[in-house]
């Protein structure tokens, strides 16, 4: 094996890869743009929708409004939880049609009952649970009703000569003591490790298929096999190509994340999303995080290379990519939504270990034992993958499998 040949194969494969539009999109555009969109898009839409619903005044109808003038006045004048009281000939039909968001039914003699301290009368709020506008209106109505109830109680206490303060015997507040990195790290750790590991694992898949099964299908492999360099030179050159693409895709996805969190608050100054999602990660944690994704990339590049060189054609290789994505997602998901493992044996499980370490790093924790076990075991799996790939590349039955 000559390093010169390895470099030649690597250079040629990279040139070939960057000229392939499909691979370029998967490698550059998707991680840089789609990843932040996928992660923040739905959250952003949800929060924006909730914010706009809170500000927007939903229309509601009140049946027998004359029976609760004080309450109606409170509803009309509340600016914090704005609601618009409208007349509707058939309030229930209007509610089901979506013309109004809720109906408040006031029973006959409600005001008198309140005055006479008779609590048997019941207000009814009619809602449409399938309509988010209705949910927002009911939330506001409930807040106003709570406030009205407190006012009534306060008046009764005053009438009895009891100070209103008895209603609030003490006050409390909750204060966050976790540092900003830990808070944002917690929220980031729900998603970022999963995406990073997934990208490291399958970011180079398209290239891997192209330079293995794709070469078989196009007949270029045979031309390569009659060239003098040792098969190991081809294996290493091709492995380095897959590794480079996978690492580039992972780095770009991380960059996409960091950029969207850095510039997000400027683009959407009123969004509360960026109060919790911040890319507040220390320099050494970031370097280690990059090292972790690199070793996952190396491991998966070697293993996928061995797998794809075994496959007969492009189509078969793509089918295996789907299965492989699931295999990678299971341990990555498990870590994302669970507390990080504490026993060191867990850090021998590929993918699971790297995801757990990335999660720890995002939370600001550097556990050298976990990092060392993960790195060493992943390096061993990568070596096994490379040995397998080399054996496959030297096996005519595999290369010309029918």
């Amino acid at each position: 094996m000559h390093l010169k040949h390895v470099g030649l194969v690597w250079g040629k494969e990279l040139l070939d890869t960057i000229r392939d539009r499909r691979t370029l999109i998967v490698m550059v555009v998707v991680p840089l743009l789609l990843m932040p969109l996928l992660v923040f898009g739905p959250n952003f839409l949800r929060i924006s929708q909730e914010e706009s619903k809170a500000k927007q005044a939903q229309s509601i109808a009140i049946i027998n409004s004359q029976e609760a003038p004080k309450l109606v006045e409170m509803i009309r004048s509340d600016t914090e939880d704005p609601l618009r009281v409208v007349d509707a000939a058939d309030p229930q039909a209007a509610l089901l049609k979506g013309d109004i968001a809720a109906v408040l039914v006031v029973p006959q003699g409600f005001s008198q009952s309140v005055q006479s301290e008779d609590s048997s009368q019941k207000l009814v709020i009619q809602r449409d649970v399938s309509n988010s506008n209705s949910t927002a209106a009911v939330d506001k109505l409930e807040k106003i009703l709570d406030s009205y109830r407190r006012d009534v109680v306060r008046d009764r206490l005053v009438q009895r000569g009891i100070p209103a303060e008895v209603l609030d015997p003490f006050s409390y507040q909750s204060v966050n003591v976790a540092p900003e990195q830990r808070v944002s790290g917690f929220f980031l750790s729900l998603l970022l490790p999963l995406f990073l590991v997934l990208y490291a694992a399958i970011g180079g898949a398209q290239t891997a298929i192209d330079i293995t099964a794709g070469e078989k299908e196009r007949g270029t492999l045979e031309s390569l096999l009659v060239a003098p360099p040792s098969r190991t030179s081809f294996v290493l050159g091709k492995f380095l190509t897959i590794f480079t693409v996978s690492l580039a895709a992972t780095t770009l996805s991380l960059a996409g994340f960091a950029l969207s969190l850095t510039f997000g608050p400027q683009l959407f100054p009123n969004s509360q999303l960026f109060d919790i999602f911040k890319f507040a990660i220390g320099g050494s944690e970031l370097a280690l995080l990059f090292g972790m994704t690199a070793i996952v990339s190396a491991m998966m590049s070697a293993l996928t290379f061995a797998l794809y060189i075994w496959t007969r054609n492009f189509k078969e290789a793509q089918t295996y990519t789907t299965y492989m994505s699931f295999l990678v997602m299971i341990p990555a998901f498990a870590v994302s939504f669970m507390d990080p493992p504490t026993n060191f044996q867990a850090f021998l499980i590929p993918i699971y270990n790297a995801t757990a370490v990335i999660k720890e790093l995002l939370m600001g924790e550097i556990n050298w034992t976990h990092i060392a076990i993960t790195f060493a075991s992943s390096a061993i799996y990568a070596t096994i993958g490379l040995i397998l790939a080399n054996r496959m590349f030297n096996n005519e039955k595999v290369l010309f499998r029918q």
């Binding site: 000229r19 390569l224 009659v226 040792s230 005519e396 290369l399």
Partner: protein, 243 residues
């Protein structure tokens, strides 16, 4: 010079090549002629070191394919049936890539390109991506790759397969030009007229065995037939009946 001795290749229970022996001298164009599935491509793949023989051996200018396959590959130029070009690279990039894999220096590559491209008419499309070329253009580019390093042994596997008349003619003329050199050439084909026109000697191969071997005149004598097609049919039938 190529010496093939008792060469055999099995794929499980199937015997693709069944103990063939022949010799090709330097300066000779030798044809492996046989129907599809006769064992020609398997034999060529053993000659190119892609397949390892189950038994027997091949010596290429004295170097064994089983013991020193990497060294054998330095002696070889191969034009396979599939053109084997990288579609996203230009023709010149393809040629340069394979030349560099053969450790050629940049000035050597430049020199050879200037010798090879003009007679094949490759200059006109050297800067085009191989994926956008016609079959004929691709075959010429593949031919350039096969001979860029001026190998002493050249193997052609169905070189005119799928080509139009003009392109096929150009490729055949190119192979014919090797008659006046000291190169060792093996042409694997199922087309009688190609073998008849180009080759000094012909081996008729069927079901993994050599049915007959010799010059065209020798085969005529052996079979008692005049045309190569008749010779081929007669000799193949004889072997089929014998087995």
């Amino acid at each position: 010079m190529i010496q093939v001795t008792d060469l055999r290749k099995e794929f499980g229970d199937f015997v693709a090549v069944d103990g063939i022996t022949f010799e090709v001298k330097s300066g000779e164009i030798f044809s492996l002629l046989g129907p599809n599935g006769a064992g020609k491509t398997t034999t060529l793949r053993m000659l190119t070191t892609i397949f390892k023989p189950t038994s027997g051996d091949i010596a290429m200018n004295g170097i064994s394919v089983t013991r020193e396959p990497e060294k054998v590959r330095t002696q070889l130029g191969v034009l396979a049936e599939a053109t084997g070009l990288y579609g996203r690279l230009t023709v010149e990039e393809n040629v340069r890539y394979f030349a560099r894999l053969r450790d050629m220096q940049e000035d050597q590559i430049k020199q050879r390109i200037s010798e090879i491209f003009p007679p094949l008419g490759i200059d006109e499309f050297a800067e085009k991506r191989a994926g956008n070329l016609s079959k004929g253009m691709k075959q010429k580019a593949a031919l350039a790759i096969a001979i860029i390093h001026n190998p002493p042994v050249i193997l052609f596997d169905e070189p005119t397969s799928g080509l139009d008349v003009m392109s096929a003619r150009q490729v055949l003329e190119f192979i014919e030009s090797y008659k006046k050199t000291d190169k060792t050439v093996i042409l694997s084909t199922h087309l009688m007229h190609e073998a008849e026109r180009l080759c000094d000697r012909i081996a008729i191969i069927n079901k993994g065995k050599i049915a007959a071997i010799g010059t065209f005149a020798e085969l005529q004598k052996q079979s008692g037939q005049k045309g190569l097609e008749e010779i081929f049919v007669k000799l193949v039938q004889e072997v089929s009946h014998a087995s």
